[in-house]
Amino acid sequence: MTGQAVKPLPSFFAEPERAEFLSLRAANAALREQLDTMRSLAFRDQLTGLFSRHYLTDYLEERIREDSNETNIVLALCDIDDFKTINDARGHQSGDIAIVCIADILDDLAGNHPVIRWGGEELLVVLFSTPDHEALRLCNRMREEVAAYRIDDGTGEFSCTLTFGLSAYDPSLTFAENFVRVDRALYRGKETGKNRCTFAQPDTAGEQR
C-alpha cells in the first residue's frame, strides 16, 4: 500500500548515512504494512465484526478517492426495512440478532469487498473494480438471500428485508457529495416500496440538494 517510487539517494550521502537511510526506508515500509493490518483489526464494530464507520472515514475514503480515477467503484448503502418495528415487537436482543445475521450474510456474499456498519441498521458495501450492472446483480443477490433467511431469536423465526441504494463513485465529486447521491437512491427505494435495489440517477438540473 505504500505506492512510493524508489528515489535515488542524493549523491552527497556518505556511505554510513546511505546504509542508515535504506534501513529506515525499509522499516518505514514494514511499519506502514503493520499499520494497515492493525487498522483492519482495530476499526471493527463489536456486535457484527464488520468494519466500523471510522475505518471508512479514516482510511478507506482515501483509497476510494485514489482508485476511482482508474476503476469503477460502486457504493451500496442498505438499510433494514421496518427495523424499529422488530425492536419494538420482539425486543432489542432480537434486533441485535437480526443485525448480526444480516451483517454476516452480506459479508459472506461481498467476498473481498469491505462491508461497513455505517449506522444502527445501515450497512455500506464498497464494491471496488465492479461494473454497475454487476454491482446491481450482487446487491440483489444479497437482498434476496437476506429476505429468505429465517432469523431465530430463541422465541421464534422471522425474516427481514433490505433496501439498497447504489451509486457509482464520481471522482469529480467529494466523498460527502458521492454519499449524498447513494443516500438519495436509498431514500427513493424506501419511498417506492422497500425491499429493492435502486441505482442513483445521474444528476439533473432539477434535483434538490
Binding site: 471493527r44 456486535l47 465484526g49 464488520l50 441485535d96 440478532i97 448480526v100 445475521c101 454476516d104 450474510i105 459479508d107 459472506d108 429468505a148 433467511y149 429465517r150 431465530d152 430463541g154 423465526e157
Partner: protein, 334 residues
C-alpha cells in the same frame, strides 16, 4: 458416480466473550452448507437455543461434514470474523455430550450429532421445492383465467386450439413436479443403519436392520415426517426391547437381534411396521410411567393398548429403563 467424500469432524471455538455465541455458530453453519454433501453440528439446536451458549463457550461447536472440497470448508470457517480457531477432531469419543436441562435430557438431542433427517433440508431443496409448487399454483391460476376467456370466445378456433395445448402442458408439468418430490423409502436406509449401529453400541446390544419393500416411493415431506418417528421407535427398541447378547443366547436366541421394518401400502395409506425378536412389549409399564408423569388426560382404564403404546411416540417421552419394561411390538420368535 462420485466416490463418497471422507467425513471430517472439527471443533470450532469462537472469540471469547463475543456474545450471541449460538447465533454466530449457526451463521458459520450457514456459510459452509453449500460446500458440503453432509453436514451436522453438535449441539444440534444452536440456531434456536440460547441455552447452548454455555456449551459453546466451554467446548465450542463441533461440526461433522463431508465435502468434495474440505479445505475450502475449513478456510470458510476460519475466515469468519468471530471464529477464534478451528481444529480437526481425531477421536469422536472425546466430544462432550450436550445435556440440556429438563425433560428433554434423555431425548435424541443429547447424542453427539443426532443424525439429521435425510429429507429435511431447510435452507435448500425444501425451499426450492416450495418455490416450485407455488410457481405451479400461480401458473395454473393464469391458465384458468385463459381458459375462462377462451370459453367466452367459442368462435375463435385458433385460441381454443392454443388453450388445449396449454392444458396439456399444465397437466404434464403438474405430474412432473409431483414426481420430482417422490423418493424411495430406501433413501433413509443408510441413516437408519447408522442409527442402529450407534445406539446398539451405546446400549451394549447387537442388532441388524432388515427393510422389507423399501423400494416403495413416497412424497419427500411424508418420508421426512416418518423418519423422525421411526428413529425414535428404533431407539426405544434398542434401549428397552433388545436384551444383552448373553441373555439372548441363554434364552436360545441368536446373539444378534433382528429389527425388521416392513412397509405396506393399500394405495391411500402407508403403514410402517417395526418388528423384532427381543423382549415382548409391556404396555402397562408405559402407562404407569405416563400416570406418574401426569400425562394422561383421562382415566387409565379408558386407554386401549394401542393408545398406551402411542404414548411412546410422543417426543421427549422418557420410559425409565427400570425392570422389565419392554418393546412396543409383539415379539416374533425366530
Amino acid at each position: 458416480m462420485r466416490p463418497a467424500s471422507k467425513e471430517l469432524t472439527v471443533q470450532v471455538m469462537l472469540k471469547p466473550n463475543c456474545g450471541l455465541e449460538n447465533t454466530r455458530a449457526s451463521l458459520v453453519m450457514r456459510r459452509i452448507l453449500p460446500l458440503c454433501d453432509n453436514l451436522s453440528c453438535h449441539p444440534r439446536t444452536v440456531k434456536s437455543d440460547r441455552s447452548t451458549i454455555a456449551f459453546l463457550r466451554d467446548h465450542g461447536l463441533f461440526i461433522r461434514f463431508s465435502s468434495p472440497t474440505p479445505e475450502q470448508v475449513l478456510l470458510t470457517i476460519k475466515r469468519s470474523f468471530f471464529v477464534d480457531h478451528c481444529s480437526l477432531v481425531e477421536d469422536p469419543d472425546t466430544i462432550p455430550s450436550y445435556e440440556k436441562a429438563g425433560i428433554e435430557a434423555d431425548a435424541m438431542e443429547d447424542s453427539a450429532f443426532a443424525l439429521p433427517s435425510t429429507f429435511a433440508d431447510e435452507n435448500g431443496l425444501d425451499r426450492r421445492g416450495d418455490e416450485l409448487t407455488n410457481l405451479l399454483a400461480r401458473f395454473e391460476e393464469v391458465h384458468r383465467k385463459l381458459r375462462t376467456h377462451a370459453e367466452g370466445q367459442p368462435q375463435d378456433r385458433a385460441l381454443s386450439s392454443i388453450v388445449f395445448s396449454h392444458t396439456q402442458v399444465v397437466d404434464e408439468l403438474r405430474t412432473a413436479v409431483a414426481r420430482s418430490r417422490i423418493e424411495p423409502f430406501d433413501r433413509m436406509a443408510p441413516s437408519l443403519r447408522t442409527l442402529i449401529a450407534d445406539y446398539s453400541g451405546r446400549f451394549g446390544v447387537l442388532a441388524d436392520l432388515d427393510i422389507v419393500d423399501g423400494h416403495m416411493a413416497l412424497d419427500r415431506s411424508v418420508l421426512a415426517s416418518m423418519e423422525e418417528i421411526i428413529k425414535r421407535v428404533l431407539r426405544f427398541c434398542l434401549r428397552d426391547g433388545i436384551e444383552q447378547p448373553e441373555h439372548r443366547v441363554a434364552a436360545g436366541k441368536p446373539a444378534r437381534a433382528l429389527l425388521r421394518l416392513r412397509l405396506e401400502s393399500d394405495g391411500s395409506e402407508v403403514v410402517c411396521r417395526i418388528e423384532h425378536d427381543g423382549k415382548p412389549f409391556d404396555s402397562r409399564g408405559i402407562a404407569r410411567q405416563a400416570v406418574k408423569r401426569g400425562l394422561l388426560t383421562r382415566p387409565l382404564e379408558t386407554y386401549t393398548e394401542e393408545e398406551m403404546g402411542a404414548l411412546l411416540l410422543l417426543p421427549g417421552f422418557v420410559a425409565a429403563a427400570e425392570g422389565p419394561v419392554s418393546s412396543l411390538f409383539p415379539s416374533s420368535t425366530r
